[in-house]
Symmetry: C2
DNA sequence: GTCATAGTTAACGTTTACGTAAACGTCAAT
DNA sequence: ATTGACGTTTACGTAAACGTTAACTATGAC
């Protein structure tokens, strides 16, 4: 089960595994332009089937696209995202490959945890601002919740 | 106490509040080039004192720079970071200003929490890969910890 | 004095991540 | 048969975030 194709975790109903999507459909769903999706293909991030010239996206392609966009939201470049995706398509038969995969996964996890520490700190600072401002407003007899 | 100048939280010793830094010093400490620091100044993100032409950075400037870089690591654009920084320099005397500050803080916090949910999900996926690969290696009689 | 070191501005170059036409094919509906 | 909605490729444009020279200045060491 690859990272970018695990929608049958147990609760996420795969509705119709055979379902295919048009580029317009996906661009609407994810609120991006078709241009962006084609660009990701040029960059080797997704490889939809073709029916003649027209691109046909599978459920897996859709999941993969969602994964890419989440990576973007987290601040990863497309190059980094490609690396991460590639990471899980490598041959997992050999012990050497498995060790390498494990090593790189651990490195990536460490990186992510640093990022989470940053994020938590950032959030806490803003929470503090929020509470201070709320307090200040209450002291002035204003209800912070009102409009 | 502004967001980008709170290093005396209680434990973080302000060493020398009067300390000043050169651009080279800061670029070394944060592992960025002087060009980057000057660029941030052009973009209005930091405003160091000048002694003639030479820039002199205060402890506050240094803290602020660190804050900017953390923002970058979290995937914010410089424009967004500037907005966030500006947010805390606005006049906090009027009730109207305070309400607006509160509102925007809450919006930002909500955004950050979405990001954290993304990040947690991302981390969990990679942890699962890690554990699966470890298991696979053990089944093959290999110690995942060894070199 | 001049040499090295560290600072400056100015301006053009580069990479990333798309946007924006232009010019065309396909098919269903009017 | 043409209009419209959707798809395609090719290619140039652009904003963001710096990198990279170039040319100059100031300062302390020798």
């Amino acid at each position: 089960m690859s990272v970018a194709a695990s929608s049958s975790a147990k609760g996420a109903v795969p509705r119709d595994t055979q379902r295919i999507y048009s580029i317009a459909e996906l661009s609407r769903e994810f609120a991006i332009t078709p241009r962006t999706i084609r660009f990701y293909e040029d960059e080797g991030l997704i490889k939809p089937r073709r029916q003649g010239m027209t691109r046909l996206y599978s459920v897996g392609d859709r999941t993969r696209l969602g994964w890419i966009l989440r990576g973007k939201r987290l601040g990863f470049s497309l190059a980094e995202i490609r690396e991460l995706l590639d990471l899980y398509q490598v041959d997992r038969t050999g012990v050497q490959q498995l060790r390498e995969l494990l090593r790189r996964s651990q490195l990536h996890i460490a990186d992510l945890e640093r990022k989470r520490a940053d994020l938590d700190q950032h959030i806490n600072e803003f929470r503090e601002v929020e509470s201070q401002v709320s307090t200040e407003l209450r002291q002035r007899g204003v209800d912070p919740e009102g409009d």
